[in-house]
């Protein structure tokens, strides 16, 4: 029997990997992919607790997270296309129109 803390550890490592990706990568699409990694880490956590604590709630929240990730990907990629059309770059350092 795999202990619950093993699942939580995998989830923590994946979450930190994704967070590091958001912080250090400069390509907008890969930043979005890192966000997907973090959402998956949260999903592992929710499903593991749902299994070990005999509750259905975690799996349902994980389902809602997947739906919201789909919406996030669609809107984020549309924003990337709009930015790319104007600036021919997906580097997040060059998107500074709203900075002052």
């Amino acid at each position: 029997m795999v202990p619950l803390s093993a699942y939580v550890a995998v989830s923590a490592v994946l979450f930190i990997t994704g967070l590091l990706g958001v912080l250090i990568r400069r390509n907008f699409i890969i930043v979005l992919m890192s966000v997907e990694i973090m959402l998956n880490a949260a999903n592992i956590n929710l499903v593991a607790f749902s299994h070990y604590l005999d509750s259905m709630a975690g799996q349902l929240v994980a389902l809602f997270i997947i739906a919201i990730a789909a919406g996030e990907a669609a809107v984020g990629l549309a924003i990337i296309i709009v930015v790319f059309r104007g600036k021919i770059s997906t580097n997040v350092d060059e998107m500074n129109l709203l900075k002052w």
């Binding site: 550890a9 400069r26 979005l32 389902l63 997947i66 809107v75 990629l77």
Partner: protein, 174 residues
Amino acid sequence: MALVFFAYFALVSIAAGVLTVALKHPVHCGLALLALLLHVSGLFILLNAEFLWAVQVVVYAGAILVLYLFVLMLLNLKTDERYFHSSFLYFLAPASLGSLYVLFLLFKSPFKGAKGDAPITAVLQEGDTYAVGIKMFSDYLLQFEIVGVFLLGAIIGAIVLAKTPKAIDDAGER
């Protein structure tokens, strides 16, 4: 046996996550993300969440990842010469220290909590999909509807954003 499968899925998903962040070419990153998603779905199987496994494979690996790859191919990116943050080495040490501390805390905790009302034997009697459906359309109906409206808004927003502008204004760069 479950331990072997857990070790395989966990190690490969962590390796794929690191590759997603570390690889240089965006398409390779997308393929590493595909490996990550499929192995995370394997973890869901180990946790008796078959419906979530199916949703993960169909929606994540089938739809979201194809969307990412489609946009990558559409934009035809060349790899940037400078693809990390300029001072990313300063992030690495705090991140590894913080993750070690978090892991230490996690392995120390017993994770005892109040048990819910869906024990595994009862769920396996009818199947996980049945249990998820009963729960979703009774207790979580409002959240379900909210997610539906949210997805509709996301679709409309994506179409409006990605639509080609009708007239090229005189200040256009091209």
